[in-house]
């Protein structure tokens, strides 16, 4: 009998509410499979920060490392200075656990209303780099608060870091029917970083000769995401462009209430982390209004990553069927959606 040790970081705002339904889906999907789940709750986020001043201690991190995977709800609260929890907790986890593949699938499920009038078939995945770029925290400011303040932010890109994520993206593209990879960057302006990305994609392409490659500047990519999203199969891009594009991708496929993500350490030197793309949504927190579907779909990515593709498929099918039959109307509460999905997963 296999036991999955799952670290649970419910986090802030609607995090707790959606994670509860994610765990229900997980348990239900594994019921009778011989695989069990042991969860450890980590009290991290705004409450802990206010109580202790801590965001993520070395002890927390060591304890999380002893798990097979992490399920995360959402991080961030208006009561905490902007950036403290995001950088001190969420990004610290991604960086410390070397989550260099931030995987964000975008699919327009039948039954979902897209804000696009004529969306066509949307089914692509964004491979967002997770450990470099402008997210490294390599910035600083001088003369803060004076008329002579200078605030810099440095985007750091390494051959090592770009190559490994590009290779992962190629492998994903090669495994998909259309076998198409789009690099998104802005190499006409960010020439140093951009040319590293470009050269790397060209070089790795030799290992995946059946994958077709194209390139878009990030500004043009946003245009195609609303005029012809069907053109995308796999997108590979840097940390910041990936952040922006995946929110837009979520929007055109029915909203961040449906968008799942996986922060993957493909080398498995540390647990990978699964989380909805949406944030903590303080405006609707505690009201049972949050849609747990994105978290449930993140659980499907978790099952996939842990080598349980059948259970993963069952979870994803439950979501697809639920949406197809009932649409994404906001009449059901968080718990009701969770219960409906669990019932479908149970079959």
């Amino acid at each position: 009998a296999r036991d999955i040790r799952l670290a649970v970081v419910a986090g802030d705002g609607i995090g707790t509410e959606v994670v509860e339904q994610g765990l229900l889906a997980l348990d239900t999907a594994l019921h009778g499979s011989g695989v069990t789940v042991s969860t450890t709750d980590f009290d991290l986020g705004a409450r802990r920060y206010h109580a202790t001043g801590e965001t993520l201690t070395d002890t927390d991190l060591a304890a999380i490392r002893a798990h097979d995977a992490i399920l995360l709800g959402a991080i961030g609260d208006p009561s905490v200075p902007s950036g403290v929890l995001e950088r001190g907790l969420l990004l610290k986890l991604r960086f410390a656990l070397d989550h260099y593949v931030n995987l964000r699938p975008s699919r327009l499920y039948p039954g979902v209303t897209s804000p696009l009038g004529n969306p066509g078939e949307i089914d692509f995945v964004v491979v967002r780099e997770g450990t470099e770029g402008p997210y490294v925290g390599n910035g600083g400011a001088i003369r803060v608060g004076t008329p002579h303040e200078v605030a810099n932010e440095v985007s750091v890109n390494t051959a090592f870091g770009v190559e490994r994520v590009v290779r992962d993206a190629f492998a994903r593209a090669a495994a998909r029917p259309r076998k198409k990879l789009t690099l998104v960057h802005k190499h006409n302006v960010l020439v140093h970083a951009g040319h590293l990305w470009r050269r790397t994609v060209e070089a790795v392409n030799a290992e995946f000769p059946d994958v077709t490659v194209d390139y878009l500047h990030v500004d043009a990519a946003t245009i195609f995401l609303v005029t012809n999203p069907a053109r995308f199969d796999v997108i590979v891009t840097d940390n910041l462009f990936g952040d922006i594009l995946t929110d837009l991708a979520a929007a055109i496929t029915g909203g961040i209430g449906l968008a799942a993500s996986a922060n993957i350490n493909p080398d498995r030197t540390a647990p990978s982390m699964f989380e909805p793309v949406h944030g903590s949504a303080p405006d609707i927190a505690g009201q049972g209004k949050a849609d747990p579907t994105a978290t449930v779909l993140s659980v499907a990515l978790l099952l996939e990553h842990l080598g349980l593709p059948e259970a993963a498929a069952r979870v994803e099918k439950a979501v697809a069927d639920d949406i197809a039959e009932r649409g994404t109307d906001r009449v059901r509460s968080t718990a009701e959606v969770g219960k409906d999905l669990a019932a479908r997963i149970a079959g």
Copy 2:
């Protein structure tokens, strides 16, 4: 009698084609007004670069400075290494002439089909910072082409630079009926730059107490641009976020064929520059297929900037009427659209 000395940089690809129609619109709008236009053509772009290796010399720049305004078509060609013309010419003009307000209005004209199913009323303007941020060219790489390459890009933000563009954006917001300003940044990750922007907006707000301010992370802003663009009135943002958001804004309002922009030096220490948001579109260059509307609308911004609001209004009305009557179908050639617009401007 007033004469406007206009520097014309048609540039690459469809640049020549659209600029020709822009000039026709300009001449027509000023016909009989007593204001004349003297143009100087500047041979800048891919052809010049291939012939001489030059992008923009000090002599070119000095000659351009002696003008009242610049009309620019498009810069960039696949035959030139990426970044050379963009940075050596287009961005050099913006930086050297201190175009710190990159103004990009977004309006959904009646008759235009938006890719959004239910766009609502779209009428906002993006004030994009034009002389700082990740566009400063302050990057570099070491060990290029080796497995140990590191490529950095630095975003530079100064109190001086942020404050002047924020003040301009507030003034524009104060002059509009809704009086609403949205700051777009990513201050939960880019904390140093982000907090400078945030503090500056808070401080300048005191000078414009009747302007309502809100804030969106750039990723969330892309969501609202497709789910509720009517929420925006004036957006102020950094150079790179502005680049991305304005292409998306163009897409939802009918495409970059319609999106105008102005690179403004509000202190008038150098000529301002007017250009369509679209690029040189090498795929359709020379075929008479390019829509000159964005350039004609940029001419309206030029007239406005030169203190000729009546002529500006006539040009904008011609575009609005043309679109309302004929839609944005691509049946007409570049020259036909230009002729139709000129006829309407002539009244």
